[in-house]
């Protein structure tokens, strides 16, 4: 608290770390998508191609949340 500049810099790092908590949801989401995709492929191996495409698509959307969190964290560290 004696050094306000260092205090703010520390809080920035803390905030960036907290922002990355958003990756929890994305991780769960990608895991669920992969689990569902693999189960579907196991039940119907003939449809593996189209299931894989849609699985990757769903993963990309779920992962986007983590990427937003990363963008916020990067902005906090470098731009704010």
């Amino acid at each position: 608290m004696n050094d306000p500049v260092a205090f703010v810099a520390g809080l920035k790092l803390l905030g960036a770390g907290l922002a990355m908590l958003g990756a929890i949801g994305a991780g769960v989401g990608v895991g669920i998508a992969a689990s569902g995709g693999v189960q579907a492929m196991g039940r119907n191996p003939d449809a593996a191609g189209i299931i894989q495409t849609n699985m990757i698509l769903g993963m990309a959307f779920a992962e986007a949340v983590a990427i937003y969190a990363l963008a916020v964290a990067l902005i906090i560290i470098f731009a704010a």
Binding site: I56, A64, L70
Partner: protein
Amino acid sequence: MSETTKKRTPVKRWIVLALVAAGIFAAFIGPSILKPISPVVVLPAEPTGLAIGGFQITNTILATLLADIVLVLMAFGAYRFSKTGSLVPHGFYNFFEFLVEFLWNSVSSAAGKWAKRIFPIPATIFLIIFAANMIKLVPGFESIGRMKEVHEGTGYAPVKLFSISSLSVYTLDKAHPVEVTAAIGETGEAESESHGEVATDEMCTACEVVPFLRGSATDLNFPFALAVIAVLMTQVYGVWALGPGYFSKFFPIKQLISGGPFGAINFLVGLLELILEFAKILSFGFRLFGNIFAGALLLSIVGALTAVIVPVGLYIFEVFFGIIQAYVFFLLATMFISGATIGHHAEEQH
């Protein structure tokens, strides 16, 4: 075929062994001579010092141009190979054919009869992202550059390695850190700014490296440019397929007039779709940028911590992620464009 296998000389395995030995030497003996410095994370692309008519060429632009050149050479090679009339592709062309076939299958399963018209846009995007992501893993990216004076934080004193005639090559050593406090004073700042071009020849005392080449997708401009192209082409293909009626997706005025209360709700939903188009640009851009930037960050930090085995695994991981991200960008662009060609009303009728 058996002759070619007999002729094979074990040169390549000696090269591999020599590289492994060099890696072990660098990892175990190297730190006693020169210690690897902790990486500096820079978000915006840095200018390399080259400029065309006042337009600063950043290191990411150079890397993108390099990827473009590689891609054009690949295209010429594939074209010349297809002119030879040989039906059995070999080596590199085999890979190229596999790639194009794979992309074509993805597009044709998603877009149906529009596949032939849609294919060029997402496939081009895939190829450029793929080339850029692969080329950024070449050693020398983000590590070879010119020295720059540090204005704030920790710099390192340069250590002379060797010199080729007038060009001397320096490196940075962690054993010689130089702390630079932020408050140099306005005069000092202005002086170093104005001498920026000249100072490259003189030696700096506390240096950091401004790399000549840096992965294209670690600059936000590259993914965003591709995202803007993809979303704009979505609108173009939508108008091409459905005529001006395509815009009724965003402004369903007909439903607003005749539809009663649900028409009003539909109108608001249409406005949401308009916002969604802009959100697509954001999510496209940040997805590619975030993945590639995080990957580059991971590689440099882990490379500074442990130099031996771990980075190899991470490099394989990065190759995988480079392909996956290019494919995801391609797939999303295909989905959005083919979705735009179908339109709302056709979907309801079927």
